[in-house]
Amino acid sequence: MAITIFLLVGAVVCAILAVRSKPLVAALWLAGLSAIAAILIYLLGAPQVAVIELSVGAGLITVLLAFAISMAEDESMPSSLIPQPLAWFLVLLAGGLLVWLILPEIPNVSQQVAADAPFVVQIWDNRLLDLIVQIVIILAGVLGVLSLLGETSKETHTEEASMEGLR
């Protein structure tokens, strides 16, 4: 109980600092949030997802964010599109609605609605379609990134060639 509350407070602090900091520091706070979330997930009894969350959330995403920030080299912090009071009102409205709808229902939740199959059976038998869709999404993502980054290098080569032509 105590460690769960302590970790939750840590996760909330990391999330607040990630939203308030500049992009590179925010990426590091996001990694901290991922690490704390992974510990919480482990404590809740889901070690497989905890390991994946730690390696992907705290590792891969942080490296990708640092890479994108170094390529973009833009640390400016423009003001918000919508007025701050309206943003706060919308956030409080959404949070209040979720608290009002979810928290009172939790004591009524009954354990063991249906038998829980082992993780291997769940993922390979019961959710095989999900796995196939995940593979397709990964392939589509890789192709998308390659085409997007390939376009940048092609344009850079074209610009270099035109500059040489002018000389």
Binding site: L8, D74, M77, A87, V99, I106, G141
Partner: protein, 101 residues
């Protein structure tokens, strides 16, 4: 308040922080970070709900799908951001209004 209720209250608070970042920031990388915060809270909510109803393995398999899709979305968004920086010279979401004219 039980542990599960405290857990869900914290998860909703993290979701609200992510939503605020999404609404209040125009910097595109900060938008991606805010989305990541919201997805983290969604993953935590899935696992907490699975534990509450005694279906933790089902929750794990669904959370795994969410992590994969979220990672691909983040990778694509960051590649798009690099392209936007290349074309517009900035990362301000308010500058992305060429289709308006």
């Amino acid at each position: 308040m039980s542990v599960t209720q405290a857990l869900f209250a914290g998860i909703i608070f993290i979701l609200a922080i992510g939503l605020y970042g999404l609404l209040a920031s125009r910097h595109l990388i900060k938008v991606v970070i805010s989305l990541q915060i919201m997805v983290k809270s969604a993953i935590l909510a899935l696992i907490a709900a699975g534990q509450a109803v005694g279906q933790i393995n089902l929750a794990q398999s669904v959370a795994l799908t969410v992590i994969v899709v979220d990672t691909i979305a983040a990778v694509l968004a960051l590649a798009l951001i690099v392209q936007i920086k290349h074309h517009t010279g900035g990362l301000d979401a308010a500058e992305l209004n060429r289709l308006k004219h």
